[in-house]
């Protein structure tokens, strides 16, 4: 694989994940359990869409084919999307959303910490800007996981169920393929195997404080690195893309 192509696809992977989970969070807008949390979730959503924009802009520049960030976000189909399966899972209840966010944020913080050291200056710059945001996101989501886990009998049971439901998407966060192989050699990409143990330790610590049980021997889902998604992504994209696809070039 050519270097340019690898960087392009690497950027898309992380742009897509941030955009899709950001879009999921934005679905809470106007539906949050309380006003303050409604604002908090949409703040996080906007941060994540912002992070995805940085990656899309850089991807578009690297590709050099006159595609814009909007083209990449709105005019690619499900099978071209490379977001991890975790990010496209439905919101469920507030606890489910916070659990999904917690698993994701825990990854993002460690990922950006390493990406800061990337030899690719643009990617390093994106990481420097994003990590501050992601650290706050993690603080927010982990505090909620702790409170709901160590809360009432009902909140505990519900978020334990969410954890068991979402755990099977955790392995995939660390999957690598030939893109990583090409880029790790040149010190551009993050070797995800180097952050997995750290991720597990951080997650287990928070889950212990939340009195939640880490699922064992779960089947682990995979596929997004090849564009194979769960049934949920198509619906999400249909809603997210309908306007620019119906009115190409629309401005608002």
């Amino acid at each position: 694989m050519e270097m340019k192509e690898a960087i392009f696809n690497y950027c898309l992977r992380y742009a897509d994940s941030s955009l899709i989970i950001g879009h999921r969070l934005s679905e809470w807008c106007g539906h949050g359990p309380i006003l303050e949390e409604d604002i908090a979730m949409t703040n996080v959503a906007l941060d994540l869409v912002g992070q995805s924009r940085s990656f899309y802009q850089y991807a578009a520049k690297v590709e050099g084919k006159d595609r814009t960030e909007d083209d990449l976000a709105y005019l690619r189909d499900e099978r071209e999307y490379r977001n991890t399966l975790l990010t496209e899972q439905p919101n469920g209840d507030f606890g489910q959303t916070m659990m999904r966010q917690f698993l994701f944020d825990s990854f993002q913080v460690l990922f950006f910490e390493k990406l800061k050291e990337s030899k690719d200056e643009d990617m390093s710059a994106i990481a420097f800007k994003s990590i501050k945001e992601s650290k706050y996101h993690l603080r927010h989501s982990s505090q909620w996981v702790i409170r709901l886990g160590d809360g009432t009998e009902e909140s505990h049971q519900r978020i334990q169920n969410s954890l068991e439901d979402l755990w099977r998407f955790s392995d995939e966060l660390f999957e690598m393929n030939e893109i990583d192989e090409v880029l790790i050699k040149d010190g551009i990409a993050v070797d995800l195997s180097t952050i997995k143990d750290h991720w597990m330790q951080n997650v287990v610590d928070v889950l212990a404080e939340a009195t939640l049980n880490v699922p064992e021997d779960t089947f682990m889902a995979t596929g997004s690195r090849e564009g194979k998604h769960s049934e949920h992504l198509g619906y999400l994209l249909a809603e997210m893309q309908v306007l620019p696809r119906t009115y190409p070039g629309a401005k608002w």
Binding site: I34, L35, E36, N43, Q143, R147
Partner: protein, 101 residues
């Protein structure tokens, strides 16, 4: 049967939010948030009141920890200051060299 005549108060407690606009300035009251505890109150305050770089430090205080004077107190609390003009520093002649007062 649960007594439904007095619904349990499920509202989260109210917290008053004080923001310090920049380092060294005093914290000023900006509003309030609902939150189950101090950490969440702090986060909610951050999300609601510092979206446009309004502050560098946040205090949150349980609203119930604040003792307020009552509207009924107004006459006895504040009217007596009405005719004590000598409490204002208006009777000094300032030397012309003093600037900025």
């Amino acid at each position: 049967m649960t007594d439904t005549s007095k619904p349990e108060n499920k509202e989260w407690p109210l917290w008053e939010v004080f923001l310090q606009p920049k380092s060294g300035a005093h914290h000023a009251h900006v509003g309030s948030v609902h939150a189950p505890d101090a950490e969440i109150a702090l986060q909610n305050a951050r999300d609601v009141y510092t979206r446009r770089q309004e502050g560098t430090c946040i205090w949150v205080v349980p609203a119930e920890a604040i003792t307020s004077s009552q509207p009924d107190d107004e006459n006895s609390f504040f009217d007596p200051a009405d005719d004590k003009i000598y409490r204002h520093p208006n009777f000094y002649t300032l030397p012309s060299e003093v600037k900025g007062l």
